[in-house]
Amino acid sequence: MKKRILVVDDEEGLRLLYKEELEDEGWDVELAASGEESLEKLEGDAIDLVLLDIKMPGMDGVEVLRRVKERWKDLPVILCTAYPHYKHEFGTWASDAYVIKSSDLTELKQTIKDILGKRQ
């Protein structure tokens, strides 16, 4: 069965881009436009990995991360952000990986492969 990734980002264009690119890689992709929506989806669907934007209106990525890790301790989360200097703050705790947002998705795809590959 295909593994399923939940992409959480408030930008419509980026959701579409991630969905198409990750589907090309062979993953199933679910989308959420806000932190609140992502938690609803997680309650309903079986998700194998969450790709999470940090900066979102309403509940931000850091808060979503905290709640996800409270409820689903083993669910891998990749944080995406524009700020390279967050890397140190968040990279070492809670999230499983940290990726700096870029139009070049190579690093992101590799990170997903690394995490989900281990869990085959």
Partner: protein, 405 residues
């Protein structure tokens, strides 16, 4: 007569004239009162230890422009702290009681009075005559009072000058502060803008990538899409720079060891130093230097300085790093041998987006500067065109710091 001249000199001291004009008038008044033909005021520059001629009146048989601090009669007066009366029979000789003074040539008599107050020695009044000069006790007293007055001119002028200097320095600091605040505001604005631009940019680049995939190899559209991808990549690099301009002004300060931070940054560049044939010379303080800093941010600041240094020495050179405690502040100095900055560019190097490199973002130094400012530190540049640049980062020293272990 004697009271007359004292009155005139006192009036002079209250006038608004400049110091050299005051002294020149005093010299003329003196020549009217005492039987000498030349009067010179020599003022001692305590830093250079040199007497300089500041004012002069009268004849000019021999006139010495300056004396070494321990030379001639002025030097002797400085040592004795008292007036000297000179008489020699032979006007051609320059030596009096073993003291050689070129200014004595052509004169028989001289009177050299110290200009001093209780704390300081300012210089001398040097009076000369080609004849044998007789100075009455009364006149000597009057001369002493005049010398005191002249000393007070000099002291006032000194004070006015240092007052002016302090005022000027304050204004400079004010200007620098205002410009760094402007810079920080500009940086914050740029960071906000960059964040807004970044997401659409990722969309553009990402979908251009998808388009490329769909077009397939050999399609005539490929070069166009590739151009889009290239430009997007360039903009993204710029945006990364702008966002590291540290939008969040909060620095997360913790006690740390400055030597350790610099050492850690250096290790990241070991391969690059080797690749460019750069020799690294370290002179770290032997004891650890406590600072209260945001380690990650400070590393970015040093990182930028070292990257610049490497870029200036692509074909080899020497990078000198030192850390020290100076005047109660922690200091790091990073010096390259990369030829320095062109003087005409020096004023702009901390301005965002100013760059002389083909692919530079112009943000390295502004980011470094903004980080150091947020740490209440300063950054200084010493530029030697044709040789190299030294950047000195000064940070508040944390006295209570104890290194681990």
């Amino acid at each position: 007569m004697e009271y007359d001249i004292i009155e005139k000199v006192t009036e002079l001291s209250l006038s608004g004239l400049r110091l050299d004009a005051k002294l020149e008038r005093a010299a003329r008044l003196l020549l009217d009162a005492v039987p000498f033909e030349q009067c010179v005021f020599y003022i001692l520059d305590p830093e250079k230890n040199v007497f300089e001629k500041k004012a002069f009146a009268g004849e000019e048989i021999t006139l010495v422009e300056s004396y070494g601090g321990d030379q001639g009669l002025p030097g002797l007066v400085k040592k004795k702290k008292a007036a000297i009366e000179v008489y020699k029979k032979d006007p051609a000789s320059t030596v009096w009681e073993g003291v050689d003074d070129a200014g004595l040539k052509g004169y028989k008599s001289a009177l050299v009075c110290p200009l001093r107050d209780k704390e300081r020695f300012f210089g001398v009044i040097y009076l000369k005559s080609a004849r044998k000069a007789e100075v009455s006790k009364m006149k000597m007293r009057a001369l002493g009072i005049m010398a005191l007055q002249a000393s007070s001119f000099i002291k006032c002028a000194d004070m006015a000058e240092s007052h002016e200097r302090i005022h000027r320095e304050l204004r400079e600091i004010e200007e620098r502060l205002a410009s760094s605040e402007k810079l920080m505001a500009l940086g914050d604005m740029a960071a906000t803008l960059a964040h807004e631009i970044r997401n659409p940019l990722i969309s553009i680049g990402g979908f251009a990538g998808r388009l490329k995939k769909h077009l397939g190899p050999g399609s005539p559209g490929i070069p166009y899409v590739e151009q889009v991808l290239k430009e997007v990549g360039r903009l993204e690099k710029l945006m990364n720079g702008v966002t590291s301009f540290v939008k969040d002004s909060a620095v997360n300060l913790r006690p740390d060891d400055l030597n350790g931070i610099v050492e850690e940054v250096l290790q990241l560049f070991e391969d690059e130093f080797a690749a460019h044939g750069i020799q690294v010379k370290k002179a770290f303080s032997e004891v650890s230097i406590g600072v209260e800093v945001d380690r990650e941010q400070l590393k970015i600041a040093f990182d930028n300085l070292i990257v610049n240094a490497i870029q200036s020495m692509e074909h080899g050179g020497v990078l000198r790093l030192s850390t020290s405690l100076e005047g109660g502040m922690a200091a790091v100095s990073i010096a390259d041998s990369g030829g320095g900055i062109e003087p005409r560019n020096l004023g702009y190097i901390f301005n965002p987006f100013f760059t002389t490199k083909t692919h530079g973002t112009g943000l390295g130094l502004p980011i470094t500067n903004s980080i150091i400012l947020r740490h209440k530190g300063t950054i200084e540049v010493e530029n030697k065109p044709g040789v190299g640049v030294t950047f000195r980062v000064i940070l508040p020293y944390l006295r209570q710091f104890r290194s681990a272990g």
